[in-house]
């Protein structure tokens, strides 16, 4: 548990969008998917996840709908909107260039002589 990763600002939003890009999910489903995808490295707490869902929904990046699951439970299911998809692409490319820049800074290539 000690090496649980802290989120960079905005990273959680991106991860949620990414998770929902594959399929509509409810809150717990998103948390579980993230945990499984990162081998338990990222565990999202309810205190962060649900407010983030509210925020993304307010921004119109997600659409929510109450659905009844197979186990006959009413669950709020989130789906990516078109705006959400666009935002996801933007975020991902921003993230990738950021990661590239950071790894370059961490492992500078020897200067060519």
């Amino acid at each position: 548990m000690a090496d649980r990763l802290e989120f960079l600002q905005g990273t959680l939003d991106m991860l949620i969008l990414r998770t929902l890009a594959l399929a509509p999910l409810h809150g717990y489903g998103i948390a579980r998917a993230l945990r499984q995808a990162t081998d338990d490295a990222i565990q999202v707490e309810a205190g962060s996840l649900y407010p983030a869902l509210q925020r993304l929904e307010l921004q119109g990046l997600l659409a929510a709908k109450w659905e009844v699951s197979e186990s006959n439970r009413r669950l709020r299911t989130y789906r990516l909107t078109a705006a959400g998809r666009k935002r996801l692409h933007a975020e991902v490319s921003r993230w990738e260039s950021f990661v590239r820049a950071v790894s370059q800074a961490l492992n500078p290539r020897p200067a060519e002589e």
């Binding site: 409810h26 809150g27 717990y28 948390a31 579980r32 565990q43 999202v44 707490e45 309810a46 205190g47 962060s48 996840l49 649900y50 407010p51 509210q54 925020r55 307010l58 921004q59 119109g60 699951s69 186990s71 439970r73 009413r74 669950l75 709020r76």
Partner: protein, 885 residues
């Protein structure tokens, strides 16, 4: 879209639905997580608990979600908490809000007065270029440093001065308006044709005069005031071109003045200026006395050309004055020059000093309020140190605590600001309605946007300035010390006490300043009221019948003779007499005197100046009616009607005859007294204010003078009860004499000292308020120090200290900052004394009685404030205290 959705969430039912949804969502997902954990291939023994833990904090999720919906929710929370906190301690809340409201209310009231009287510019075009001009006449300079202007001099300037665009003049008169209801005497200003052009104002209706109106044969035209237009002509715009009958002559109404038209009042225009209280009718000046050497009767103002300074303008006028002296040396013996002032400075100049002193007093009071507030807040902070310590220990951030402490202060400031502004609205309204004080333009005082902004700005400033201190202390609170419990004897407690003692000391010092000021003003008023006025104030009624100017001397004399006859016959009247200018009604008919047929004016043997006297035309028994004592010789009798006799005042006698007997000598003065034989000497009387020297007078029987203005009626009982009887008696005499104005002598005296009384009352009110606040502050600090030292005092008593010793211990400690503050305050009062010197009468700024009295008052109040906590300390039960620890 985003803002729309967010706005939607502000609606309470949407919000509640949203909260319900979120709660259900969290519940369902948690159940799902727990189920999921249980369904794993190898369930952990505490799978359900672990799943709950991994799921996270549901309350936090709800809190954070709310923060997403309403980003300001944190502030709202602070606000709610602050309101709850304030409601928990109503005494603290009430005292702090009320004291703040007191300070803000006083400051806003005075600010709106100062704003109206001093700060607001005049409604003239480019008022900065307007100069007010008076003449300096060498032979009269020692009595009247400056005089209004001679009309011929004015015309000479107007025709020749290059540095002025134009020069305007006016003087006062009165006229009777007939038709449309009762005949009424109206105050009239005779103005030069360019009056409107020079001031740069336009009538609200119709047209202004031009220079052609000055021609004697031009059609008779008048401009009327907005007030008269509303009152007599029901604000009809069809009034233009109509005729109005003034003094049996028909005038065409050509214009109506704008409602905000103001001209400086008489008391601002210097001695001997003649201008009615209000102006209802403007008439063009068409005739004047062709006299180059006297008749200094006109109020003159000029508009400087652009780029010309006041000094240049004055220099040119001085040059022109010299030319006048050269060409008219027969009329003017020597030195003539001018004095000028910016017209803007003239208005309100007599009250400017008072208002500024009162404004500084109000700032001092506000400062005291602030200090008191800081003190209360500090006390509250220490009382809640435990609570704050607990909150810090529980993880509240210090910044957050400081903000919540500040929110409380801001709430207090807001409430104090609102209450104070309401109080100011009421005070200003009461003030403009009562208006016992002749503050120029005070009727324009309003609690308007700038005043409200001032009030709230001040409130918020107080809150920030003095709320930050406690907030800063709160944020520094040490949870360990705070939580250690009752044992307050920590360094932070002691430090807080020292800070609060310092605050109390400054409060006392400021309070001393205010009390000394109030004391000096009270003492000044007392001295003014106890000046020997020389006339009787009680039981005396002054009636001013408005005898039409068309009455010739004989008709006017006959009217007054009959009036006196009727009045003296009334039961309840002790004496009745006529006089051209009643005591305190101002100086008038000022002339030089010649003795025993001499050609030249007499000189004062002491100062070698020409003697100037006021001529008064009085009926027989005037001295009895006015209560002026006869010192020597006799008073006038009915038989004096045909004799050429005079009575002089003691001062006149002293100046002219220097100790020798004046009876039998003859005096000449002005155009109406020539070689009158002196038959008596009477006591001195103040002609204008009560504050200067009494005015030298020569009295002449009124039958010689014609127009007499006032009737003095000395009653046996209350003069107000006689008013109706007297009015009816005068009215029944002559139907063409319109309603007589009436006032009691007491009212006249009150009016003379009204500004002084107002100043004193305001300063006194501030002083008492400051005293109460200081008492509150002192009480708070002493009570706090007793609470801090409870344990120490208990130990002392357990070891055998007697109650009296404990009491004196507390008293000594409590009075220490008071005495220090008192000393500083007295020194400051001595240093600041010269600032108020101009407002004082009969008392020096460093008056030991006043300083001592202020100190004694403050000290006894401070002692009283210390006694209660000291007594409580001496009644402590040592056994209980020691058990508690």
């Amino acid at each position: 879209m985003f803002w729309l959705r967010r706005f939607w969430l502000l609606l309470p039912w949407t919000r509640r639905a949203r909260e319900r949804d979120l709660a259900e969502e969290l519940r369902a997902n948690l159940a799902l997580a727990v189920e999921d954990a249980a369904a794993s291939p190898a369930p952990h023994p505490h799978a359900a608990r672990l799943a709950r833990r991994d799921f996270g904090n549901i309350t936090a999720a709800q809190e954070n979600a709310r923060a997403v919906w309403f980003p300001a929710a944190g502030f709202a929370q602070d606000l709610r908490a602050a309101i709850r906190g304030l409601r928990r301690s109503p005494a603290f809340t009430a005292v702090s809000i009320l004291s703040l409201a007191l300070g803000i209310g006083a400051a806003a009231t005075l600010f709106s007065l100062v704003d109206a009287v001093v700060l607001k510019p005049l409604a003239y075009r480019e008022p900065g270029r307007l100069l007010f001009i008076r003449e300096v006449v060498k032979p009269l300079e020692h009595v009247y440093p400056t005089l209004p202007v001679n009309y011929l001099h004015y015309r000479f300037w107007r025709e020749n001065a290059q540095s002025f665009e134009s020069l305007g003049a006016l003087t006062s008169s009165s006229a009777v308006l007939y038709g449309r209801g009762e005949a009424e005497v109206l105050p009239v200003a005779l103005v030069s044709g360019n009056f409107f052009a020079v001031l740069g104002i336009a009538p609200r209706l119709g047209r202004a005069f031009t220079l052609t109106n000055e021609r004697p044969n031009s059609p008779p035209e008048i401009v009327i005031s907005d007030a008269l237009w509303r009152r007599r002509f029901s604000a009809s715009s069809a009034i233009l071109g109509q005729k109005a009958i003034l003094n049996s002559r028909a005038y065409q109404i050509v214009g109506v003045l704008p409602p905000d038209f103001r001209f400086p009042k008489n008391n601002e225009l210097g001695p001997l200026a003649r201008l009615p209280e209000r102006i209802d009718v403007l008439l063009p000046i068409q005739s004047y006395l062709p006299d180059w050497g006297g008749e200094y009767d006109y109020i003159v103002f000029g508009r400087l050309r652009r780029g010309i300074t006041e000094r240049q303008g004055r220099a040119e006028l001085d040059l022109l004055e010299r030319r006048i002296v050269e060409t008219h040396s027969g009329d003017i013996a020597e030195g003539l020059r001018v004095q000028t002032w910016p017209l803007q400075d003239v208005i309100a100049s007599p009250v400017r000093a008072s208002l500024l002193v009162l404004l500084s007093a109000v700032l001092v009071l506000t400062l005291i309020v602030c200090v008191n507030l800081a003190n209360l807040l500090l006390a509250r902070g220490s009382a809640r140190a435990r609570e704050y310590g607990m909150r810090i220990a529980l993880g509240a951030s210090r910044g957050r605590l400081a903000i919540s402490a500040l929110t409380e202060t801001l709430l207090i400031a807001l409430a104090g600001g609102i209450l104070g502004t309401l109080a100011a609205v009421a005070a200003v309204r009461a003030f403009t309605r009562l208006a016992s004080v002749d503050l120029p333009r005070a009727d324009e005082a309003r609690v308007d946007t700038p005043v409200i902004a001032f009030a709230f700005g001040l409130a918020v400033l107080c809150a920030l300035l003095f709320g930050l201190l406690p907030a800063w202390r709160v944020s520094r609170a040490d949870p360990q010390t705070a939580l250690r419990g009752e044992s307050h004897a920590s360094t932070s407690g002691r430090g807080g006490l020292r800070l609060r003692e310092f605050l109390v000391g400054s409060e006392v010092a400021l309070c001393t300043l205010l009390l000394v000021l109030a004391g000096l003003l009270v003492s000044s008023l007392w001295h003014v009221l106890h000046v020997d006025r020389g006339f009787a104030t009680e039981h005396t009624l002054i009636v001013s019948p408005n005898v039409p100017p068309s009455y010739r001397t004989a008709a006017a004399t006959a009217f007054f003779d009959r009036a006196l006859y009727v009045l003296r016959a009334l039961p309840g009247v002790r004496a009745a007499a006529a006089v051209n200018t009643a005591p305190l009604a101002g100086e008038s008919s000022v002339n030089g005197v010649a003795v025993d047929g001499a050609k030249d004016g007499a000189k004062d043997t002491a100062s070698n100046h020409f003697v100037e006297v006021n001529d008064r035309f009085v009926s027989d028994s005037y001295f009895e009616a006015a209560g002026i004592p006869l010192l020597h010789g006799r008073v006038f009798e009915p038989a004096d009607r045909n004799r050429n006799v005079a009575i002089v005042s003691a001062r006149t006698a002293a100046k002219l005859f220097a100790g020798t007997d004046p009876l039998g000598h003859t005096v000449s003065s002005g155009s109406r007294i020539s070689d009158a034989r002196i038959v008596g000497v009477v006591g001195d009387v103040h002609a204008s204010g009560l504050e200067g020297d009494p005015t030298p007078m020569i009295y002449i029987p009124f039958w010689k003078s014609g127009h007499v203005a006032d009737l003095l009626v000395r009653c046996k009982g209350d003069p107000l009860a006689m008013e109706d009887t007297v009015r009816r008696a005068v009215q029944s005499l002559d139907s063409s004499v319109p309603a007589a104005a009436m006032r009691t002598m007491q009212e006249v005296v009150d009016r003379t000292v009204a500004l002084r009384r107002f100043r004193m009352e305001v300063a006194g009110g501030f002083g008492i308020g400051a005293l109460l606040l200081a008492a509150l502050g002192i009480y708070g600090v002493v009570a706090y120090s007793v609470a801090l030292r409870r344990r120490e005092l208990g130990v002392r008593m357990a070891l055998g200290a007697r109650a009296a010793e404990v009491r004196s211990l507390v008293l000594r400690r409590g009075l220490r900052p008071v005495i220090a503050g008192l000393a500083v305050g007295l020194i400051a009062a001595l240093a600041a004394g010269h600032l108020v010197r101009s407002l004082l009468f009969g008392v020096a700024p460093a008056d030991p009685w006043t300083l001592g009295g202020a100190a004694a008052a403050l000290f006894s109040v401070a002692l009283a404030a210390c006694l209660a906590p000291a007594h409580r300390a001496s009644a402590l039960d040592p056994a209980r205290i020691l058990r508690d620890e």
